[in-house]
């Protein structure tokens, strides 16, 4: 670990948002705006079965009756939903049958992002599904995984190749009517990833989805669905970046996880959407709904997220603990700098007996940003012996930022034990001076202190992600002290 630490310190000096480039590829866009025709256009483009179009239209009609939520502790001008392009696909001459047939410009994009869809990934053993704008570009390791009965493909492919599974599980955890953005997503989602792990199979490699917004004025609405059958295990990674643009772009995704008896799903996110510039101009609105259900007894779902990007983050990866003895975990590091706003946390809904949940949230605020933790721990009437432990720590850099905690606890069974701990601290000048006095400059000192603060969460990330995430923390906070 020593060596890595040094590398990270060395890289702290690399500046700015480094994923902000635009790839010059031709794309095929839907006309701006949203109405039933847009929904039909998307469905037709994807050659979808009638039931799915119906599902979309129903969602759309419901969305029209809903109001955008105003309870989050974030501020932004009204979104004009008619001014967004809902479908944008990089134009490919032919449908790629193999990775070699992918547009070289697109391949370059992924190489710049440090994601090679080629041989390198074979060595590290991570299977990748890459989504650019509205469509999935490539999925690696499909055949290798298929030998184990694992399905890992784009949502579009899954609709055609595994309709019975999609019909059964799509919207089963997060119904379209759940909230304003899930309804919107259900109406216009364009692609995403589908993952199915059969009974008793331990997925031998990390599965990864990589999201990239490229086109301008485009919203990104993808869905991820993971079904882990009894006794199976999978670790799933999600990464995301976007070009630097002056206007805000909307990202409203849905992730659903279903874990059957004794199944375990570990979902890790490193969210690095473009956060806007130093004056708060531009950046992604990241309004995402993520939820898992521990359907079977002894199942386990854990969410780990490192949130450094987006101008606004609104997201509460949650677990419904339905199966007896099931376990839900939420580990989060949320960093906000400049004018970024984050309202993020989790919901742990205890329904089954002897269910356990653990929440560790680390919020880091700098600049003029606002960082809120919002979490619900609910113990139902029949959830005997439920246990929850929550820890919410906030770290402030400077005196113009805000940290807020909104914990909600609802306990309807008196055998439950719910613990909540919270701390707020500032990076002290004395800490920085101490580091300076040992020859460590201020940027490196802040990176070190912040990584120390977030360590408990970082330790939950898979190795190849952890190093990246540590660097990201340092870079996001550059120039925030001094």
């Amino acid at each position: 670990m020593y060596e890595e630490n040094d590398d990270i310190l060395g890289q702290v000096t690399t500046s700015e948002y480094k994923y902000g480039f635009v790839t010059d590829i031709e794309s095929e866009d839907a006309p701006k705006g949203l109405n039933e025709d847009t929904v039909r256009y998307i469905s037709a483009k994807k050659n979808e079965p009638a039931w799915l179009l119906e599902w979309r239209l129903k969602s759309f009609r419901h969305w029209q009756t809903m109001e955008e939520p105003t309870w989050p502790n974030v501020k932004y001008p009204p979104i004009d939903y008619q001014d967004i392009i809902y479908y944008s696909a990089p134009k490919q001459k032919i449908a790629p049958n193999s990775l070699d047939e992918i547009d070289p410009e697109l391949r370059k994009t992924f190489e710049k992002l440090g994601i090679s869809l080629q041989e390198q990934k074979r060595l590290t053993g991570v299977a990748v599904d890459a989504v650019v704008d509205s469509v999935s570009i490539a999925t690696t390791f499909k055949e290798e995984l298929a030998e184990l009965g694992i399905i890992f493909c784009s949502m579009s492919d899954a609709v055609h190749e595994h309709p019975e599974l999609i019909k059964k599980y799509l919207g089963a955890v997060v119904p379209p009517t759940d909230n304003y953005f899930t309804a919107l997503n259900s109406a216009v989602f364009s692609d995403g990833s589908f993952c199915y792990i059969p009974v008793g199979v331990r997925c031998p490699m990390e599965l990864s989805t990589y999201f990239r917004i490229n086109a301008a004025n485009t919203g990104q609405f993808e869905r991820t669905l993971i079904v882990a059958e009894a006794g199976s295990y999978v670790s799933y990674l999600e990464g995301c970046t976007a070009p630097m643009r002056d206007e805000n772009q909307l990202h409203a995704a849905v992730v659903e996880i279903m874990a059957m008896e004794k199944a375990e799903v570990k979902y890790s996110t490193v969210q690095n959407w473009y956060p806007g510039d130093k004056e708060g101009k531009g950046g992604i609105y990241n309004f995402v709904t993520k939820r898992g259900i521990c359907q079977g007894a002894h199942s386990k779902i854990s969410w780990t997220q490192v949130e450094t990007g987006s101008s606004i983050t609104w997201k509460y990866p949650s677990v419904i603990l339905k199966g007896d003895h099931s376990v839900g975990e939420f580990y989060s590091v949320a960093v906000t700098n400049n004018y970024q706003q984050a309202d993020t946390g989790t919901k742990m809904i205890h329904i089954g007996k002897n269910t356990k949940s653990r929440i560790v949230s680390k919020g880091i605020s700098a600049g003029r940003s606002n960082n809120s933790y919002r979490g619900l721990v609910q113990v139902g009437r029949n959830a005997g012996n439920a246990r929850n432990f929550s820890q919410c720590d906030s770290l402030l850099l400077g005196d113009k930022c805000g940290a807020h905690t909104f914990p909600y606890i609802e306990v309807k069974n008196n055998t439950g034990i719910v613990e909540h701990e919270a701390t707020t601290s500032k990076i002290g000048e004395d800490q920085i001076f101490y580091c300076n006095q040992r020859g460590i400059d201020t940027e490196a000192a802040v990176a070190m202190i912040v990584n120390g603060f977030a360590k408990e969460v970082m330790n939950q990330l898979p190795m190849e992600f952890a190093v990246e995430a540590q660097k990201l923390l340092a870079i996001s906070l550059e120039g925030s002290v001094g």
């Binding site: 040094d6 004395d430 001076f433 101490y434 580091c435 006095q437 020859g439 070190m448």
Partner: protein, 254 residues
Amino acid sequence: MLRIRNLHASIDDKQILRGINLEIKAGEVHAIMGPNGSGKSTLASVLAGRSNFEVTEGSVEFMGNDLLELSPEDRAREGMFLAFQYPVEIPGVSTTNFIKAAVNETRKYRGHEHLDAVAFLKMMKEKMKLVQIDQSLLSRSLNEGFSGGEKKRNEIFQMAMLEPRLAILDETDSGLDIDALRIVANGVNQTRNKDNAFLLVTHYQRLLDYIVPDHVHVLYKGRIVKSGTRELALELEEKGYDFIKAEFESAEQA
């Protein structure tokens, strides 16, 4: 090595140092003593570059550089070390990783290669013996939950690892029991050589039983009012600071 001339410093417009003159040569150990509030710790902080103090007059030369022009980290990299009176805690950062970063930053500044993990561990093992510090302490978060004695020993351990040219020990002896004091003093004595120097800031002469200084200075109201050898420390121990105060006040009036 260090030449302080007419140094004046203040905090929040309150004048603390009022004209310090002091020269330290390689191979020397100096002790600065004085009553509470005389400016001892301020002198240590100003030399290390703590930003809340403002230097209003005077100059400091360190290893041929204008010390006051250097950032705190560059002062450290030039070989100035401050053992803090109150070492800070950094949760989640192991002591080992912290020291590794410190050692390598200094090496980088001096144009040396990074120490690899093996060489670093070997160096650590050697220095650990000097201050009888335990490996388990070094894997814990920096100073977090350390006892007062452990924190001070950790300061001396860092000093040993960084091999400074000038080490300033700011009341490192305060709050130590006799065994811990002996261990700390032993660490200093073993690292002492003809090329480095020490500035011991202390209240009590007790420390000087273990670390024998070449020069003793008495600081009072922001000035060095008396300098001498070890005998001066013994005299202070016997008579207290009152005789210095009396001498100083009458000199002021005259």
